[in-house]
Symmetry: C2
Subunit: 276 residues, 2 copies
Amino acid sequence: MSEPQVYTHGARLARKAAKDAKLVPVLERYEAWKAASLAVDGRDEADIIALTGLLNDYKNAVEPTLDARANSAQEGLQPSILEEFLGYLFANVSTDIGQDLLRRPASSFIGLIFNPRDVHALVEAPEFTLREKDHDFVLGACVTLSIQAEGSTFTRSDKLVVPAVAIECKRYLERNMLDECAGTAERIKKATPYCRYIVASEFLKLDRALPELSQIDEIYVLRKQRNLERNTDIVLNPIYPELIVHLYQDVISHLKRIWWDPESGLTSGRVFNLPR
Amino acid sequence: MSEPQVYTHGARLARKAAKDAKLVPVLERYEAWKAASLAVDGRDEADIIALTGLLNDYKNAVEPTLDARANSAQEGLQPSILEEFLGYLFANVSTDIGQDLLRRPASSFIGLIFNPRDVHALVEAPEFTLREKDHDFVLGACVTLSIQAEGSTFTRSDKLVVPAVAIECKRYLERNMLDECAGTAERIKKATPYCRYIVASEFLKLDRALPELSQIDEIYVLRKQRNLERNTDIVLNPIYPELIVHLYQDVISHLKRIWWDPESGLTSGRVFNLPR
């Protein structure tokens, strides 16, 4: 059983709790959630249902406290729960696909730009910029990119993350966020066309249920519920385990695929040969 | 006195003339043009006017023969004259800017895309594609880009050209070519924002004189004449020397500039600080 590579929520919570005694009971509840989640070894449907149950229990227990805090949105304690949950969910990915990956919140590559200061820099060691976009959770690889001008001994290097899957976690999805995600999807698909891009939101905050078609591969509304039902007397839906099972299987089947085979245009007659 | 780095027109002409005796007089005329152009040492206004005169003389002498040939457009003998002329024009660039450059027809970088075959390739040595665009003449630098996955010993490398100036040479400019150049300009400015992109056409073949504003930095109509006046009794204008002088000075002043200074936002209060 592997562990998540980072505990974003836990680390943030521990920092805050060190200065604020009111968070100590939350931190205790967190430690229980973490231990129980780490104890779920497999990733078959029952395991994922169990993990989702633990997530719902933890969220139900601590979110009233977190939401009541001043600056709760800026503090990031609530949003980081779902991010950390994805860390548990995908901790065992190497068992499923035979390959461990970078699995954590990360900025992924969306473009390389050359911006030399002047013609001399261009010829000796051109300055370049790696354009990146933050994601709440990435499954991918870290690589080093190096640029060396012809005839020069100087090399400039920088690290970048190539994503195979990028997931955005939102509490609710409204117009501006959706537009930002659609823009991000376009840039991802240009730079890393085989990255699957998923938005996982708890609630929906859009007038109409579904947006125009964009390059986002899937949008999950994990509670199948509108945001306006929060803070009312209406009972909240849980995060539905079957949706987490679907998300998990969608990601794993993407990771197991051949994304691109130079021969397939001639062997199958279909260059992309994607599953339908 | 430096030489051009390639003689595209001369090499093509010599290959054809080896199989076609009718081209032998053209080749002789070419050798005279080449020798006379190489003998023009400086690049002040009088030198550029002299070079342009030699170009007009050579074109006037040989183009009737070249245009009369079957498949003259595919053969590329006529279009490569202007390309080779730019090689002479910019052969001495190191004297003007204190730095020699790649100066020749080239494909320049417009984007880096990661297209790993599958998740294992992603982690071990992700396949990548350098998107490039052909230009008739480039002043720039050749660099090697290398990608190494974290924890892997395997490195993939590829060469690319970072342009400081890209020039397209056209006999006449019509709608489709202009649209292609406008599209190329957009891609260049995204990947290499400090590349100056210039279109140099002999004739204009558009209903209205000027296109909508695009990211092309300048379009020269070197004969200040419409294409429909070709193949008529109307006397053709020469390629105007003052336009070649303008093009030359425009390129040199771009190459001498500081393109980007990280301090200028605070020292001048203007981040780009471009000349107007």
